[in-house]
Every structure is written in C-alpha cells, then in structure tokens.
C-alpha cells in the first residue's frame, strides 16, 4: 500500500455539468446499465428572477473516517491504496449495511455481481502509472484534479492552500477527501 493520501478537487466555477465524467467513468469501469458511480448534481435556489444555480460532479468522497468501512461485517469494504475506500466484491455478502451507513448515497448494488459497487478513484489506473482518473482525463473544462494531499507541491494541495473550498455534509463527521472549490 502506498503511503499517500489521495484526494480529488473539483472546481465548481468551471464545471458546467456536461456529464462527460459520468459517461467516461461508465465506459472505463463498465458500470451496469442504469447505474452511475459519479453523477451531476445541479440545484437551483432562490425565487425568480433572483436565481442561483449550483452544478458539480459528485462521487464517493473516500472519507478518512468512513462509516461504510466501519459497519462492514465481512471486511469487504476497506481502506486501500492512498487511504481510498475500496470494495473487495469477492468478500461482499450484499447485506447493504454500508449503503445505509453512507450519508452521500455513493454506493449501490451492482446488479450483475450482487455486490457493492462505487467509485474507486480509478485505482486500477493510478496504481499502474496512469496519473489521471477517467473522469479527470475526459473533463473538457479541466475542472477535476486528483493527487496526493501529503505532497505539499501536488496540484490538489496547492489548490486547497490557495482557494476557498468545502466538503459535502461536514457535519456527518466522515472527513471527506473530495473537495469542492468555491
């Protein structure tokens, strides 16, 4: 296991919600029809004509304190390379406790395997020397960044040091490692 701390940063100022990341991920990872590992969140708030729109690409937050890993009775859900949250489908009984425990709804049952599926931060690419995730590679506005938080010179570290950012549902106490630039 690498001694890194992988994280993803998404720039909400440049993300236009084009969905290329969703289709790119589905193609790269062979995600089952009708299911997604990443998705476009878009929300409009306010009263016409004073409206504000938020658009962003979301996925598993690869929490540092992941409730899905804690509740898993078989050790199928675990912390993998670079502190990412991974699933060993061979060990999964499909009890779905992790789905209930995830406040983000990032997990689902892969209908072909009967086991949990979710975003892996494309560890099959990263661990084999390809420096990008598939969603990052395909993003036409280059809004997605991926890298090592423990390296102060990495792109994600520099962005988080200089730009205002947030994580989703910080009150849930899961310490997400997916950040959104304001």
């Amino acid at each position: 296991m690498s001694d890194k701390s992988y994280a993803m940063v998404l720039d909400t100022r440049t993300c236009v919600g084009c969905s290329a990341c969703v289709i790119g991920c589905k193609t790269e990872n062979g995600v089952a029809k009708g299911y997604v590992r990443d998705w476009i969140f878009s929300e409009t708030t306010g009263t016409y004509p004073n409206l504000q729109m938020t658009v962003r690409s979301e996925r598993c937050n690869h929490c540092a304190d992941a409730p899905c890993v804690t509740v898993c009775p078989t050790g199928s859900s675990h912390y993998g390379a670079g502190g990412t949250v991974q699933v060993n489908q061979d060990k999964c009984s499909g009890c779905k406790a992790c789905i209930a425990a995830c406040p983000y709804g990032a997990r689902f049952i892969d209908p072909n395997e009967g086991a949990i599926d979710k975003c892996t931060f494309c560890m099959h690419r990263i661990e084999n020397g390809i420096p990008t995730t598939s969603c990052q590679e395909i993003c036409p506005t280059q809004s997605i960044y991926f890298g090592d938080l423990d390296d102060p010179n990495s792109e994600v570290s520099r962005l988080l040091a200089t730009r205002e950012h947030y994580t989703l549902l910080p009150g849930a106490g899961t310490k997400p490692k997916h950040f959104y630039l304001k």
Binding site: S19, V22, K33, F41, S42
Partner: protein, 320 residues
C-alpha cells in the same frame, strides 16, 4: 451504452433509500421474540428450578432455535449475494454490530438447544434418548445438561439480552439515518423483544399461575417500552434539523397513522389497559392481548426500518 439521464437515479438509493424491505423487520421481530423467550425461560429455570412447570412452558424453549432459524432465513433472503454469507464467519469486526450479531447468533444455537433439552419433561427426553440411541455421547450430554441447567439458563439470559440489544444497536449506530441514530434503540428493542417474547409464551397452554406471572411481567415491560419510545421521540424532536425532520415522519408525516394506531394504541396502550383490568378483576389473562402485543412489536420494527431509511441529511442546502 444507453443513458437517459446522468443525474443519479441508482436503484434502491434514489430518490430515497429503500435497500431493506420486509425481510429485515421480520428478522428483527423474530430476533426480538427469541431474545424474549430466552431471557424469560432462562430466568424462570434459574430462579424456580424446583417449582413444577406446565408441559407447555417446559417445551417452549425449543421455540428459540426454531424461530431464530426462521428469522435468519429471512435475513439470508435479504442478502444480495447469499452464497457469500459464510464470509461473516471468517472475521470479527469490532466496530460492526452486524459482525457482533453474526457471532451472537452462532452462540445462541448451542445454548438455547441445550437449555431446551434440559428443560424438557423427563419422559420426552427418555423417548428421544431411545430414538437417537445411535448418536454417540448423547447420554453424557443429557447428564451434563441436567447438572448444569442453572448455568445454561444464565447463559440464555445473557445471550438473549445480547441478541435483543444488538438488533437495536445495529440500526442505532448509523449516523447517516437520523431516525435510527439513537442509543435508546438498543434498550427499546430489548424491552419490546421481552414483551413480544412473553406474548408468544402466552399463546400456549400454560398453567393459570404461569399466565398471571407472565402477564404481570408484561405489564411492567409495556410501561417501560412506552417510556423508552417517549424518550426516543423526545431525543429526536429536540435534536438537529436532520433528527427533527426524521421524527416528523411520525408527527404528521407519512408514518403518523400507522405508528400511533398500530404501535402505540393497538400494540401497547390497549394491551396494557386490558392487562390492568384482568389483574384488577382476577381474570386469568387470555390470548387476545398477547396477539395485540405481537402485532404492535412487528409494526414497531416495520415502521422503524422503513421510516429510518427515508430519513437522511436533509440540511444539505444549509451546508453549502
């Protein structure tokens, strides 16, 4: 590839979580009944070893492994990958209540079967000793259980309590589901399990004195259960936005009618009043109140499991 939408519409997750269906409340209900039977018969055998028991009460501990097997069958049906169930028994995850539960269930089988054997009437044991004469060492087991009935009874009380509490803790430890995320759920499911366990015993042909004792115990249990439900609701109603939205499902939300009629009125208050009247007028308790308690106990599990899945982190807007 064909995708109509790229916003998330994953089955069983969106628009609201609905991963657990009828199997889970059925298991939680049966698990609670088994916990109740184990604790009540265990206490009875430990505290009144010499008092003569009705044939029904002597044989009823056999219901523990039978009902538990039925419950575990439903649990197994719920698994998406049922043939990986053995994976539960390759590890012990201290942070996972489900892992604790899997091991508790495995301990319950020998403990409950041995106690049921020890408690069975002597003539029944003799018949089965003859029928199973080919099984080696059965005489030794028979002698051992006869000598160790009290420790077996105590083990059943402890394991029954563990089973009853774990079914509540299983749901209670999930911070992502505010309706469940309460430490009260463990004791609530334990007391409800005891009450439904007593009700299950009362369905059978017990001696009058046994019926009166169990019914008196049940009165106390229902009173405690009402108190625990009140504390659970107060805890949620005085909590943060998520907790208040979650409990709102029982106060004007979609589960209001079912909760207040089936659980509170029919399943708890009516049997409590009936039992008080029975004792005031020295009537031997019948089976109708027991059936109501069982309906109420099942409805409680059903509503908690379904409404809990519909509760989540609604204040996402405010977090941004």
């Amino acid at each position: 590839m064909q995708e109509i939408t790229t916003t998330r519409t994953n089955q069983y997750i969106d628009p609201v979580l609905h991963i657990w269906h009828g199997e889970i409340p059925l298991y939680l209900f049966l698990g609670g009944v088994v916990a109740g039977i184990m604790i009540l018969t265990g206490l009875w055998f430990a505290l009144r070893p010499t008092t003569e028991r009705s044939r029904a009460l002597s044989l009823l501990p056999w219901a523990s492994p039978v009902l538990l097997s039925a419950g575990m069958f439903f649990l197994w049906l719920d698994l998406e990958h049922p043939f990986n169930a053995w994976r539960f028994y390759l590890t012990m995850k201290l942070g996972s209540p489900m892992s604790w539960g899997a091991w508790i269930l495995m301990l319950i089988y020998p403990a409950s079967i041995l106690l049921a054997w020890a408690g069975s009437p002597a003539e029944v044991r003799q018949v089965w000793l003859k029928r199973l004469a080919k099984v080696p060492k059965l005489d030794a087991v028979n002698a051992w259980t006869a000598q160790n009935t009290k420790p077996l009874a105590v083990a059943n009380v402890i394991l029954g309590a563990a089973l009853g509490i774990y079914t509540g803790v299983l749901l209670g430890t999930m911070a992502a589901r505010p309706l469940w995320n309460s430490a009260i759920l463990g004791p609530l499911f334990l007391v409800s399990g005891l009450s439904t366990g007593a009700a299950f015993l009362l369905l059978y042909r017990l001696a009058d004195q046994e019926r009166i004792t169990l019914s008196k115990i049940d009165m106390g249990l229902i009173a405690v259960e009402l108190l625990l439900i009140a504390l659970w609701l107060i805890g949620l109603a005085s909590g943060g936005a998520e907790a208040r939205a979650a409990v709102g499902q029982l106060f004007g939300g979609p589960y209001t009618a079912a909760f207040w009629t089936l659980v509170i009125a029919l399943g708890l208050v009516t049997p409590l009043i009936a039992e008080i009247i029975e004792h005031r007028h020295k009537v031997v308790p019948g089976r109708v109140t027991a059936v109501l308690v069982l309906i109420g106990g099942f409805a409680l599990r059903w509503i908690v499991v379904f409404a809990g899945q519909h509760s989540g982190w609604v204040s996402e807007l405010a977090q941004r």
